[in-house]
Amino acid sequence: MEHPNKVAPSNVPTAWQRVLDTYALKYQRATGKAFEKPFVALMNGLPFSTVERDTVAEGFARKTVTALLHTCQQCGRSGRRRRHTRRYTVMCAACFSARALRADIAALLDDDAPTEAGFRPEVAWHEHELPPRIRGVIPSQIWRQTDIPGVGPVRYLGKADVQALAVWLTKLACLVDEETATAGSEAKVGAG
C-alpha cells in the first residue's frame, strides 16, 4: 500500500510523523483517497492546517493539528506547547527537562556575566534565587551556608561556585537527554 502521507514535510519530528500517518490513513479509509499535498505545515515549530475548501479534509487536518499540539514530538507521549529559544516545541515534561535545564544553566551563567557598564549585579545566589530545576538537584554538600541577622540560616552559591558547577550541570543535562531519548525510543517501540 502506498504511503498515505508521502508528501508530508520532511522536517517533521519522528514522533509526529506517526500521528500524521495515522490521520492520513484514517482520511484515506474514510474517503477512499489520499491527501495530494501536505495537509499540515510547521511554522516556528508549531503545526497548522493547510487545507482549504474541503470540509472533510479540513476537519481531518484540524484534528491532526490538535493531536500534534498534544503529542510530545520526541517520545510521542502526551505533551504540551512550550517555548524554547524563541521557538515553540510540543513536548512532555520529561523530554523537555534536559532542554529546560540547559536553558537554566545558560541563563544563570549569563546572569553572572558583567553588564555593558562592567558592573556585576550579583556576587552570590540565595537558594531561592536559583531556578528550581538547578536548585532541586544540587547535592547538599555543595551548598555554602551562612546566617543572616534577622533571617536565620541560608544556603547560597557564590559566583565561582556556579562557574565550577556549570560543567557538572552540563554533564547532567547530557545524561538527562540520553535518558529521555532512551525512554522515548522504548515508548515508540512499545507503541509500535
Binding site: A93, S97, T146, D147, I148, W168, E179
Partner: protein
C-alpha cells in the same frame, strides 16, 4: 449581532470566580509539570551519580561557614544548643527563653557602619567642643572605608571634664549617628558587677547582664555608656570588674555572661565612659580607654550649642512651634552663661515665661540662670 463571550471580556467583573479558577488550574498544571521535570532530572542524576561525581567540584559545606562582610559571628550554635538542653533539664526557663531569642536572631550580627559625612557635620555643629573625639571618629571612618564591608569600630573612649559639658548628650547623639542601640549604665547608682555581666543562675533574682542584653539585636556593635565611672561605689562585687576583660579585644571575644554561660563575641561593642575626675579611676582600667578631656566650650562654641539645643527643643516640644524658629542674638548671648546641660531647662523656663506674658518671641530677660549649686558649692541647710 452576537455578543462577545463574558469569559473573554477583560472588563467584565461579574465572573471573577471563573477567572480565578483558570489561574489556579494553570498554576497547578505548571507545578505538576515542573515536578515531573525535576523528577526526570533527579532520576538521571541518581542513576549516573558515579559519573557525575567526577565532575563535582570540591566546595560547600565541607568548608567553614563564611561571614558576610561587615558582620561578625556572635556565638557558636553548638555551644548554645548544648547550654539550652542543659537549661531545659534544669528547668531554667529564663535561660531557655534568652537562648531561644539569641538563636532566632541568628549567629551573625551586623557591625557598625561609618557615619555619613552629613551626620559627622551635624555632630560637629551640635558639639563643637568635642572636636578631638570627632577627629578620632573621622580617622576611624577612613579606616572603615578601606575595610571589607565598611565595618566601623572605635576604641573605648573616656570623656572627662567638668559637669554639664554635654558628655552624656554626645554619647546619645553618637549612638544615633552610628545607628546602633544604646544602653546606659549609671555606675554611681549600680550596686554590683551583676549589672554588666549577669549573676549566676543559683541566685534567686539572677538575670543576664547589660552586655548580653545589648547583643540581643541585629547589631553586635551596640554602644554602652558608662556614666560617671569615677563615682563607682566600693563593693565586694565591683561594678567595673568585668570591664577589665571586656575592654580588651582578645578577652572580649569570648565574654561569658555568668547567667547565660555561653561565650559571645563582645569585642565589637562601642564603649564610652564619662567622668569628672579621671584620676579617681584605677590606673589599670584607665589605661584601657582612650582619654579625652572635654573643655568647657568657649563663647563662640556656646552660641553654636545654644542654637543646637534650641533646634532640638523645637523638634521635641509640641508647644515650640508657636515660637520663633531662631533665637535672637540677645537671647543667645544670655544663654551662653549657662552650661550645655542647663541650657535645655533654662530655655524651657524662658518659653514658659514668654507664654505667661502671651508672647511668641523670647526676650533676654526671660533667660534666667538660677543655679541650685553655684561655684561656691552646695548651699548648706541648717546652722552655718
Amino acid at each position: 449581532m452576537p455578543t462577545p463571550s463574558p469569559h473573554f471580556d477583560a472588563s467584565s467583573t461579574d465572573m471573577p470566580k471563573f477567572k480565578v479558577s483558570i489561574g489556579v488550574r494553570r498554576s497547578r498544571q505548571i507545578d505538576r509539570d515542573l515536578a515531573e521535570q525535576l523528577r526526570t532530572i533527579r532520576t538521571a542524576a541518581s542513576k549516573h551519580a558515579a559519573v557525575l561525581a567526577t565532575f563535582l567540584p570540591g566546595m560547600g559545606a565541607s568548608e567553614p561557614v563564611v561571614n558576610w562582610p561587615g558582620q561578625c559571628r556572635l556565638f557558636d550554635p553548638d555551644v548554645l544548643n548544648a547550654r539550652k538542653a542543659a537549661a531545659r533539664r534544669a528547668d531554667e526557663k529564663l535561660v531557655v527563653y534568652e537562648l531561644e531569642k539569641a538563636a532566632s536572631l541568628g549567629v551573625l550580627r551586623e557591625l557598625a557602619r561609618a557615619p555619613t559625612s552629613g551626620d559627622m557635620h551635624a555632630l560637629r555643629i551640635d558639639f563643637p567642643h568635642f572636636s578631638q573625639v570627632l577627629d578620632l571618629m573621622l580617622q576611624r571612618s577612613a579606616l572603615a572605608a578601606v575595610s571589607p564591608g565598611g565595618a566601623f569600630s572605635m576604641p573605648p573612649v573616656l570623656l572627662s571634664g567638668p559637669p554639664g559639658v554635654g558628655k552624656t548628650a554626645f554619647s546619645d547623639s553618637l549612638a544615633a549617628c552610628l545607628k546602633v542601640p544604646l544602653r546606659r549604665i549609671d555606675v554611681a547608682s549600680s550596686t554590683a558587677s551583676f549589672t554588666l555581666a549577669g549573676s549566676h543562675p543559683t541566685w534567686s533574682s539572677a538575670r543576664p547582664g547589660m552586655v548580653w542584653h545589648l547583643l540581643q539585636n541585629s547589631s553586635a556593635a551596640g554602644l554602652l555608656l558608662l556614666d560617671e565611672v569615677d563615682k563607682a561605689p566600693h563593693s565586694s562585687y565591683p561594678v567595673l570588674g568585668p570591664l577589665y576583660s571586656l575592654l580588651e579585644r582578645i578577652s572580649a571575644r569570648h565574654f561569658v555572661d555568668e547567667y547565660i554561660e555561653v561565650p559571645v563575641d563582645a569585642s565589637h561593642l562601642t564603649w564610652i565612659a564619662t567622668c569628672n575626675k579621671p584620676e579617681l579611676l584605677d590606673p589599670a582600667l584607665r589605661s584601657r580607654f582612650v582619654e579625652f578631656e572635654i573643655p568647657m566650650p568657649n563663647a563662640a562654641q556656646m552660641v553654636a550649642i545654644a542654637r543646637s539645643v534650641y533646634r532640638r527643643l523645637r523638634a521635641e516640644a509640641p508647644w515650640a512651634a508657636v515660637f520663633d524658629a531662631e533665637l535672637s542674638e540677645e537671647v543667645t548671648a544670655a544663654l551662653t552663661a549657662a552650661t550645655p546641660r542647663e541650657m535645655l531647662r533654662v530655655l524651657e523656663e524662658a518659653h514658659a515665661r514668654a507664654a505667661t506674658d502671651r508672647r511668641c518671641r523670647l526676650k533676654p530677660q526671660d533667660v534666667v540662670i538660677n543655679r541650685a549649686s553655684g561655684p561656691s558649692g552646695p548651699r548648706r541647710i541648717g546652722f552655718v
